[in-house]
Symmetry: C2
Subunit: 370 residues, 2 copies
């Protein structure tokens, strides 16, 4: 449990991100927390590089709309301060706190305050002793995490998570798999230093996609050199792709080949912005032509299949309706809002399905044995 | 073989894309083919919706810098024209040509001209008879492809590929796995109608990443509602992430948390644009702080770890060098060009490694059995 959010033990995979203003700037940090919350973040981490940042947490934690996790390096006293400030979780790096006495002190304080602890191993900042013993591979990462987890668990503390991150997809995957052979402690997954929003999203999607599809991972953070809102969007898109979670419209749209006779990118952008506030899961197809359009639009909850000068609106359960181009976006919006309203009224069926572990779609997708 | 490009049989996974101007606009189509070639596309597909588009191929195919694949629906005579025009490959859709006599006629013409044929099944445009028999699932997709492949192979034709695409990651993965149980015919992988450049890249990376990691797939096309250059970038990033192919600099950069003391997004963008023309594979780390920076930059071929007002330049084999912020990008560029030049001079070692099937990195990443 990180505050009121369950991580691991069959709970849905949790989306988290990290703020990037200077943590000492309380207003900017709180504003970004609110922005990522609205985008779908469920936990938020803030960097605590010094005592002033730790003191800022006394203002941030109680006013944050999300449970706050303090990211601590080098100095265990910052962790003690963060717990006192009301952080719902701590992220510690075994490579740079070191002293077992200090680590135990933090564990006791966290236990008393009910704060979660993540042992966050990063291949870029491994303990030199571990590196010397095992080399820069998954073994050094897992051994570091096991050692720190044991130190913490010896105090009787039991609210642990671990992460084993590298910028390399292969190394991250190998470490996550190796960890799952040694421990049941929930895993936070991420590809660290993965690049800017474009290349980093792809690298994270490959790495997290492979691991989540194998059933590994209880919470995810996509790391991008870019706005944390992009990290949250990417994380949700990964979870949606694997049918592990659902949130808002799932857009299906075609790549506008030479057969496309309408301005599809504009139509898609228009429809996306009209439905940006919708949280109810819906599949919406925005397709350009008569080859794949009717099939995809007909199979979706609702959709448009373009044709010469206009298109046909498909709404599940109704007959397709031909409309001129200029009316497609508004008609799709109104049909989507109607359907979303009906689903909400019909009760939280989708939410119920999502809440209890992983739905069937994920099981079907998982790598078959052997 | 699609023109001079090998697909399947242990060849490296081939990157392809599709043009989106009207194919009848020869100049625009050729310009886009050149643009995607420079970005790393190795094959290019063009839509051939009618006889005028097919006739345009007579001007496009001989002047294209990439082998051209003609995308044909409904009318087999367009396929015959495309082969005559010099298309290196055809993509046929079993759901909408139908008549076995016509399909055989196309196969004979392709065989004579040495053109490849892809049987491209799409879950959005399945033969209604197959849908009725198997439902909209992987079985209907695989059965459609097997039937059309058999029709074509009966003529003695042997240069076949198949694709089994859906907009749904789970369905695409299930179909690709099922196909590999029935046939050795090489697979073209793609998630169709996957959305705009942002969400579609992520969905494609999840789907193709999982399948490529299982050893499936011989050529990939990322479908985005956006410029085909983005499709090529995304495909390369997926292949790079899995260590299946390498091309140009592989950037590692951190997500600029509250610990970052330099303007990292600007530095990264500057370095990326300075090195955009580099084709030699290099790992370049652009990191903001002293926590993970030195580890990542030291493990990369070269890199920068930021600090207060500047940073340290790491070049493999040399001692780190402290520099002010304003000099970091230029110093990194010059070190990267020097290293790239040395590697090129040392021979095509990287190319040789890449050319022979999959490197060890990929084997390590692959899903362990059971």
């Amino acid at each position: 449990m990180v505050g009121p959010v369950a991580v691991g033990g069959g709970a849905p995979v949790v989306v988290q991100t990290m703020t990037n203003p200077d943590t000492r700037d309380v207003a900017a940090t709180l504003a970004q927390i609110e922005a990522v919350r609205l985008r779908g973040a469920e936990l938020v981490r803030v960097a605590v590089p010094d005592a002033r940042a730790a003191r800022a947490l006394f203002d941030i934690a109680p006013r944050s709309g999300l449970p706050v996790i303090a990211d601590i390096h080098f100095d265990h006293r910052l962790a003690l301060l963060a717990v006192e400030a009301g952080a719902a979780g701590l992220r510690l790096n075994p490579g740079n706190i070191g002293d077992p006495v200090k680590i135990r002190k933090v564990a006791l304080a966290a236990a008393k305050a009910g704060a979660a602890v993540r042992v966050g191993v990063n291949s870029g900042s491994l303990d030199p002793a571990m590196l010397a013993k095992y080399g820069r591979g998954p073994e050094a990462m897992v051994a570091s995490a096991l050692r720190e987890a044991a130190l913490i668990e010896e105090t009787g503390y039991a609210n642990l998570k671990v992460s084993l991150k590298a910028s390399d997809v292969g190394l991250t995957a190998a470490a996550a798999r190796l960890w799952s052979q040694y421990s049941d402690i929930p895993q936070h997954l991420g590809i660290t230093e993965s690049g800017d929003s474009r290349s980093g999203s792809v690298r994270s999607a490959v790495g997290l996609g492979i691991l989540l599809n194998e059933g590994l991972g209880d919470t995810v953070r996509v790391s991008l050199t870019g706005p944390p809102e992009d990290e949250v969007d990417c994380a949700w898109e990964i979870l949606r792709s694997l049918e592990l979670r659902s949130r808002g419209p799932n857009f299906i749209s075609c790549p506008t080949c030479g057969r496309c006779e309408i301005d599809l990118p504009s139509l898609l952008a228009d429809v996306k912005s009209r439905l940006a506030d919708l949280a109810v899961p819906l599949t919406v197809a925005v397709m350009g032509c008569v080859v794949n359009g009717p099939g995809e639009a007909g199979a979706a909850d609702l959709g448009v299949a373009g044709g010469r000068g206009g298109g046909r609106l498909f709404v599940r359960g109704s007959r397709p309706r031909a409309l001129p181009y200029g009316e497609l976006a508004a008609a799709l919006e109104s049909a989507a809002r109607k359907m979303a309203g009906e689903r909400e009224a019909a009760g939280a069926a989708a939410k119920g399905r999502e809440g209890r572990g992983r739905p069937e779609g994920a099981a079907r997708l998982k790598t078959p044995p052997g």
